[in-house]
C-alpha cells in the first residue's frame, strides 16, 4: 500500500482526534491542523490522480476486519479512475471549506469542535470512496451520516437544529435498512463483500431469482433496488428527501461541503460503483430513471417559491442530484459522475456565496429583506453570478456540458423511461435557470429591503471567504473543460478516462441530435433567465399577480407539497401513539404486568393460612417451592 494513499484518509482522522481532544486549549488556532492535513490530503489526491492516469491501480487489503467462519471482510483500499475523481472532488472542496470556515465560524463557541467535525467528515467521506468492499463503503456511509448529524446539530441548543440533525440520521436509517439487506443479499449470492470478486462474477447471477415470503424477485433487480434504497436516503431523493432542506440548520460551510458537494453525492457514487449489478436489471434502471425524473421536477417546483436563500439552494441540490440519478438510470454513469464533479463546484460556490451574504446581512437568510447587495459585495456578486450561469446551463460554463450530456444520453437511451426523463429534465432546466436567477436578482438587484441597521453594516466578506469563492468560481466555470463533447470540438476525455470502471453507454446520439437537444435545453435555460428578469427586474408586480392567479399551486410549492406534514400524520404520530397506547399501556402494563402481579396475589390468597403464620413475602416463596415439589413428584410419577 503506497504511503500517499494511506495519508489521504488517515491525516484527517489524525486531525480529528487531536483537534477534538486538545482543540479547546488551542482556541483560535485549532483550525491549523485540520487545514494543513486536508491540504496534504488534497496534494496526495492530485498525485493519486496522475498515478491512475498513468495506468497505476491499487486494490489492497490493509487488515482483516471481520472474520467469522467463511465470512471475511477486510479494510482495504481501491484506487481506480472513479476513486481518483472522487478523491479530488472531496479533498478540494473540503480544503476550500476549511479555509472559508476560519472567518465564517470565527465568533462561534465550539470553534475547535467545528473543525474537528470537518476533519471527521473528510476522513469518513474518503473512507467511503476509497474502500475496496461493500462493508467499508457502509462504514464510510454511516460515518459521514454521523458527521452530518453532528454538524447539522452544531448549534445544538437550538431545538430546530437538534431536530434537524436527528431527522437526517433517522430518515437515512430508512434508506440504510434497504442498503444493509442489499449487502446481505450480495453476500448470500457471491460469498464475499469485496468489489472485485462480486463484479467479476456478476454475470453468473443475471437470471437467478430470489424468493422471500412467497414473492419471487429477479436477483440482480433485488440487489440493485435494495442498494438504491440506501442511495435514495443519502442523496435525498423522493420519498426520503425530507431531511436535506432541514439540514440547512447547520452552519453554511457545512451545507456547501456535506449537503451539496460531497456527502449527498455518495448515493450517485454507490450506483456508479455498482454499475455492473445495475446493468443487469432493466427494471432497476427504469426505477432509478423515474425516481430521478420525478424528484428532479418535484424539488425544482418547490425551489420556485422559497424565500430562505439556503432552502432554495437546498431544493436545487435535490433537483441536481436527481439529474445524476437520471444519468445512472439511463446507463450513462460517466455523465452522472461528470455532473457530480461540476455540480460540486458550482453548488459549493452557491452555498458559500449564500454564507457570505448571510454574514454580510448579520444572519438574515430571507430574501425578502435583501436586494441591491451588488454594490456592497462585488466579489460575492460576481462569483454568485458565475455559479448561477453554470447551474442554468449557459453554454461554455461547467454545468452546461454535464447537464446536456445527461439529457442527450437520456434521449437516446434504450431504457424505457429515458425519453420521459429527457422531457422532464429539459423542463427542469428551464425552471433551474428561473429559480437561480430569481434568487440572484432578489439578492443583488433592486432596492435594499432590510433595516437601515443592516444596510449600515453591509460590506464585502474578508479574504479567507472571498478567495475560496474565487477558486470555486474557476471550477464552476472551467470544470466542464474535462468533458467537452466531440460535437463541440472536444474529445470527451471524461468518459474515456472513466470507461474502465463505468463502461460504455449502450447508445450514442448522433451529432445532429445532440445539437438539436442542446439548442432545446439552452433555449429552456434562456427562457428561464428571461422570465426571472421579467418578473423580478422588469415588472416586480408580476409575481404577486401570478400568485393570486394560482393560489393552490403556489401554496403547494411554498409548503413543499406538505410532505413533512403527511409523514408526521402517517408515520411519526401513529408510531408514537401505537407505542404509548397499545404496546406500553395496553400490553405491557395492562396485560403482562396484570398477570404477573396477579399470580402471586392469587397464590397469596390461596395460601392464606401460611400467610397468617409467616407474614410477609416469604409466603410467596414457599408457595412456589411447594408448587415446584409437587411438580417434581408429578414428573417422577408420570415417568414410572
Amino acid at each position: 500500500m503506497p504511503t500517499y494513499l494511506l495519508l489521504i484518509p488517515f491525516l484527517p482522522l489524525f486531525s480529528f482526534v487531536v483537534t477534538f481532544l486538545v482543540g479547546k486549549r488551542l482556541g483560535v488556532h485549532s483550525h491549523w491542523l485540520p487545514i494543513i492535513t486536508v491540504l496534504i490530503s488534497f496534494s496526495c489526491a492530485i498525485y493519486a490522480f496522475f498515478q491512475v492516469k498513468n495506468g497505476y491501480r491499487v486494490n489492497t487489503d490493509l487488515y482483516t476486519w471481520i472474520s467469522s467462519g467463511a465470512m471475511t471482510v477486510s479494510v482495504g483500499f481501491l484506487l481506480d479512475e472513479l476513486t481518483s475523481v472522487m478523491l479530488i472532488v472531496v479533498t478540494s472542496v473540503s480544503a476550500l471549506v476549511h479555509i472559508y470556515s476560519v472567518s465564517y465560524m470565527k465568533e462561534e463557541a465550539g470553534y475547535y469542535r467545528f473543525f474537528s467535525y470537518l476533519s471527521l467528515f473528510t476522513f469518513s467521506m474518503l473512507m467511503l470512496v476509497l474502500g475496496n468492499n461493500f462493508l467499508q463503503l457502509f462504514f464510510g456511509w454511516e460515518a459521514v451520516g454521523l458527521s452530518s448529524y453532528l454538524l447539522i446539530g452544531f448549534y445544538y441548543n437550538k431545538m430546530a437544529a437538534a431536530d434537524a440533525g436527528k431527522k437526517a440520521f433517522i430518515v437515512n436509517r430508512f434508506g440504510d435498512f434497504g442498503f444493509i439487506l442489499g449487502l446481505f443479499l450480495i453476500y448470500a449470492s457471491f460469498g464475499t463483500l469485496h468489489y472485485e470478486p462480486v463484479f467479476a462474477n456478476v454475470a453468473q447471477i443475471a437470471t437467478q431469482t430470489f424468493t422471500m415470503l412467497g414473492v419471487t424477485f429477479n436477483l440482480p433487480t433485488a440487489i440493485a433496488l435494495l442498494l438504491f434504497c440506501g442511495a435514495i436516503g443519502k442523496s435525498a431523493q423522493l420519498p426520503l428527501h425530507v431531511w436535506l432542506p432541514d439540514a440547512m440548520e447547520g452552519p453554511t460551510p457545512v451545507s456547501a461541503l456535506i449537503h451539496a458537494a460531497t456527502m449527498v453525492t455518495a448515493g450517485v457514487f454507490l450506483v456508479a460503483r455498482c454499475n455492473p449489478i445495475f446493468a443487469l436489471s432493466m427494471t432497476a434502471l427504469n426505477v432509478i430513471t423515474i425516481v430521478g425524473s420525478i424528484t428532479c421536477l418535484f424539488a425544482a417546483t418547490i425551489a420556485l417559491t422559497q424565500t430562505d436563500i439556503k432552502r432554495v439552494v437546498a431544493y436545487s441540490t435535490i433537483s441536481q442530484l436527481a439529474y445524476m440519478f437520471i444519468a445512472c438510470g439511463v446507463g450513462a454513469y460517466s455523465a452522472g459522475v461528470f455532473h457530480l464533479f461540476t455540480h460540486a463546484y458550482f453548488k459549493a460556490l452557491l452555498f458559500l456565496g449564500c454564507g457570505s451574504i448571510i454574514l454580510g446581512m448579520h444572519h438574515e437568510q430571507d430574501v425578502k429583506y435583501m436586494g441591491g447587495l451588488k454594490k456592497y459585495m462585488p466579489i460575492t456578486y460576481w462569483t454568485f453570478l458565475l455559479a448561477s450561469l453554470s447551474i442554468s446551463g449557459v453554454p461554455g460554463f461547467a454545468g452546461f456540458f454535464s447537464k446536456d450530456e445527461i439529457l442527450a444520453m437520456a434521449f437516446v437511451s434504450p431504457v424505457g423511461a429515458g425519453k420521459f426523463a429527457w422531457f422532464i429534465g429539459t423542463i427542469v432546466a428551464g425552471m433551474t435557470a428561473f429559480y437561480s436567477f430569481r434568487l440572484f436578482f432578489l439578492i443583488f438587484h433592486g432596492k435594499f429591503r432590510g433595516t437601515a441597521e443592516q444596510q449600515h453594516h453591509l460590506k464585502e466578506s474578508p479574504k479567507t471567504i472571498t478567495i475560496p469563492l474565487i477558486l470555486l468560481a474557476i471550477g464552476a466555470v472551467g470544470a466542464g473543460a474535462f468533458g467537452v463533447p466531440a460535437v463541440l470540438g472536444g474529445n470527451a476525455n471524461w468518459s474515456h478516462f472513466l470507461e474502465p470502471v463505468l463502461g460504455h453507454p449502450q447508445a450514442h446520439p448522433s451529432h445532429f441530435t445532440e445539437i438539436i437537444l442542446m439548442i432545446i435545453s439552452v433555449g429552456a435555460g434562456a427562457l428561464g433567465i428571461f422570465l426571472a428578469w421579467k418578473m423580478y427586474i422588469n415588472n416586480p408586480g408580476l409575481p404577486q399577480k401570478i400568485q393570486d392567479r394560482f393560489p393552490l399551486l403556489y401554496r403547494l410549492s411554498l409548503h413543499k407539497y406538505y410532505v413533512d406534514e403527511i409523514y408526521g400524520f402517517l408515520i411519526v404520530k401513529p408510531m408514537n401513539s401505537f407505542s404509548r397506547n397499545f404496546i406500553l399501556n395496553f400490553f405491557d402494563i395492562g396485560l403482562i404486568d396484570t398477570i404477573v402481579n396477579g399470580i402471586p396475589k392469587l397464590i397469596g390468597q390461596l395460601s392464606g393460612t401460611i400467610r397468617k403464620v409467616q407474614n410477609g413475602l416469604v409466603s410467596h416463596y414457599l408457595a412456589y417451592m411447594g408448587g415446584g415439589i409437587v411438580f417434581i413428584i408429578f414428573l417422577i410419577y408420570a415417568r414410572s
Binding site: 467462519g69 440533525g165 400490553f587 415417568r639
Partner: protein, 510 residues
C-alpha cells in the same frame, strides 16, 4: 494447569467480602479503597486466562474437578471454553467500574454494599465456570441474593416492589430449571456433568419438556418477551452499580444458559423449537424498541432497549450458524459494555440531579460537555454505528439469520431504524435543546468518573475495529457447539438457494 485459577477467581472476592465484613464501618475511605483493591486484583488475576487460553481446541480449559457430594455424584467441576471465557473477563472488569461509580453515590451501609458486590462477583464467575449442573444451580441461586439486596436496600423509592418482582420472576424460572436438572440427572445416568449429559441422547418428548423447563429460567433472565417486565422495574430502582451489573452480566446468563445447556444437551428440541424462539426474538426486538419511544423515564428507556438488544442475541443463538451464534456471543459482550456504560453515565447524572424524568433535562451538553461526548459514543455504539462494537455483533447476527431465513433479517433490521429513533431522541432531550436553567451549576465529571468510562470506550473501539481479537476465542467452541446441535460445524447455513456455487465463489473470495 496446576494452579486452581478458577477457584481462586471465584473465592478471592468472597474472601475480600469476608475481610471487608471484619473491617470497622467507621472508616469509609478504607472500605472503598479495599473494595477497589480487591476488584482490581481480581481483574489482574483474570488476565492470565486471556493469554493462556488455547484457541485451537473446544475442550474445557483450566479444568478443576473434585468429587463433592459423592452420594449424588455431584462434583466440584470447573472449566472454561471459548464461549464462557470472555464473560469471566467482562465480569471482573465491570465489577471495578461498579466500585468506582458507587464511590459517592452510596451513602448508606457502605460496607455491606461492597460486601454484596464482591459476593455477587464471585457467584457470577462461578456461574460461568461451573461444569457440574448442580454446582451451576448453586451459583445461579447464590447470585440472586446479593442482587436482591442491592436493589432492595440501596434502591430507589419503589425498591421493595422491584426487588420482589425480580426475585419472584427469577425464582419461578429457576425452580422449573431445578426440576429439569433433576429429571436430567435421573435420565442421563445419574450425573450432573454437563459435558457428559450433552454426550447422550434423549427422547424428543423429554427433550421438549426439559427445553421449556430450562427456557423458563433462561428466558426470564435474558429477558425474552413476554417475561421481561421485571427488568424495567429492577433497573429503575436499582442503584447505578446494580443496574450496571444487571445489564452487563446478569442478563447475559440467560443467553449463556441456552448456549451451555439447552443447545448441546437438547439438540433435537432446539432445532424443533427454532421457530418459536425466533418469533419471540423478533417480537422482543420490535416491541422492546417501540416501547422505548413511549418512555418518559431515562432508566426505563435503557432497560427496554436491553429487551430489544437481547432479542438480537437470542435471534443469533437460535439462527444456529457460525455468523449468527458468533455474533450473538459477541453481542452479549457488546451489550454488556454499551449498556453498562450507559447505566454508568446515567448513574453519574442521577447522582447530581436526582431525577430520572427525561423531560427534566435539556441542553446538558453545554454544562457537561465531556459526559455528552461519552454518552454520544455509547449511544452510537448502541445503535450499531460501524466502527463501534455494536455494529459487528448486529451485523453478524443479521447476516447469519439472513443466510437461513431472509425474512427474519428483514424484520429484525427494522430494529436498526427504531433503535436510532429512540436513542437519538433520548440524546436530544437530555443533551441538546435549550439549556434547562435548573442545572446551571451542575458539577462536571471528575477524574474518577472519566477513568471509569475509559476501559469501556477502549472496548467499544477495540471490538469495533478489531473484532477478530474476540471472535477468534470463540470460533472453535462455536463450531463444536453447532456440530453438536446441527451435525455441521458451520450450522444451518444453506437456507439460501441462489447465488454462486461455493465451488466457484470460494477461490475468488478474500
Amino acid at each position: 494447569m496446576s494452579l486452581p485459577i478458577l477457584s481462586l477467581l471465584i473465592f478471592f472476592p468472597v474472601l475480600g467480602a469476608v475481610i471487608l465484613l471484619g473491617t470497622g464501618k467507621e472508616n469509609e475511605k478504607k472500605i472503598k479503597g479495599m473494595a477497589l483493591v480487591f476488584s482490581l486484583v481480581e481483574f489482574v488475576l483474570t488476565l492470565p486466562l486471556w493469554f493462556a487460553f488455547d484457541k485451537t481446541t473446544h475442550h474445557m480449559q483450566f479444568v478443576e474437578r473434585h468429587s463433592w457430594i459423592s452420594l449424588f455424584n455431584i462434583e466440584y467441576y470447573l472449566g472454561l471454553d471459548g464461549i464462557s471465557i470472555l464473560f469471566v473477563l467482562l465480569s471482573t472488569l465491570i465489577t471495578i467500574l461498579c466500585v468506582l461509580v458507587s464511590w459517592h453515590s452510596i451513602q448508606l451501609k457502605i460496607k455491606e454494599f461492597f460486601v454484596c458486590l464482591l459476593l455477587l462477583e464471585g457467584a457470577m464467575i462461578g456461574v460461568f465456570c461451573a461444569l457440574d449442573f448442580f454446582l451451576f444451580y448453586i451459583f445461579w441461586e447464590a447470585m440472586l441474593i446479593p442482587m436482591f439486596l442491592l436493589i432492595g436496600i440501596w434502591g430507589g423509592p419503589n425498591r421493595i416492589y422491584a426487588a420482589t418482582k425480580f426475585f419472584l420472576y427469577t425464582l419461578v424460572g429457576s425452580l422449573l430449571m431445578l426440576v429439569g436438572i433433576i429429571t436430567l440427572y435421573m435420565q442421563g445416568g445419574n450425573t450432573f456433568d454437563i459435558l457428559a449429559l450433552a454426550e447422550q441422547s434423549y427422547p424428543l418428548k423429554l427433550q421438549l419438556m426439559l427445553f421449556w423447563g430450562f427456557f423458563a429460567a433462561f428466558a426470564v433472565k435474558v429477558p425474552m418477551w413476554p417475561v421481561h417486565t421485571w427488568l424495567p422495574d429492577a433497573h429503575t430502582e436499582a442503584p447505578a452499580a446494580g443496574s450496571v451489573v444487571l445489564a452487563a452480566i446478569l442478563i447475559k446468563m440467560g443467553a449463556y444458559g441456552f448456549l451451555r445447556f439447552s443447545l448441546p444437551i437438547l439438540p433435537e428440541a432446539t432445532t424443533a423449537m427454532i421457530m418459536p424462539m425466533i418469533i419471540l426474538s423478533l417480537i422482543a426486538i420490535v416491541y422492546g424498541g417501540l416501547i422505548c419511544l413511549a418512555q418518559t423515564d431515562l432508566k426505563r428507556l435503557i432497560a427496554y432497549s436491553s429487551v430489544s438488544h437481547m432479542g438480537f442475541v437470542t435471534l443469533g443463538i437460535f439462527s444456529l450458524n457460525t455468523q449468527s451464534v458468533g455474533g450473538g456471543i459477541l453481542q452479549m459482550i457488546n451489550h454488556g459494555v454499551i449498556t453498562g456504560a450507559l447505566f454508568l453515565a446515567i448513574g453519574m447524572v442521577y447522582e447530581r440531579t436526582h431525577t430520572r424524568l427525561i423531560s427534566d433535562y435539556g441542553g446538558l451538553a453545554t454544562r457537561m460537555p465531556v459526559l455528552a461526548s461519552f454518552f454520544l459514543l455509547f449511544t452510537l455504539a448502541s445503535i450499531g454505528l460501524p466502527g463501534t462494537n455494536g455494529f459487528i455483533g448486529e451485523f453478524l447476527i443479521l447476516l447469519g439469520s439472513f443466510m437461513t431465513r431472509p425474512w427474519v433479517a428483514l424484520i429484525a433490521a427494522s430494529g436498526l431504524i427504531i433503535g436510532a429513533w429512540y436513542m437519538l431522541w433520548l440524546y436530544q432531550r437530555i443533551f441538546f435543546n435549550p439549556v434547562n436553567p435548573r442545572w446551571d451549576s451542575i458539577r462536571r465529571l471528575d477524574r474518577r468518573e472519566i477513568i471509569t468510562f475509559l476501559p469501556l470506550v477502549i472496548l467499544i473501539f477495540w471490538i469495533g475495529l478489531f473484532p477478530n481479537h474476540m471472535l477468534s476465542y470463540m470460533h472453535v467452541s462455536v463450531a463444536h457447539l453447532l456440530e453438536q446441535v446441527t451435525g455441521n460445524p458451520a450450522g444451518i447455513a444453506n437456507g439460501v438457494q441462489f447465488g454462486l456455487d461455493a465451488a466457484t465463489a470460494l477461490p475468488l473470495s478474500h
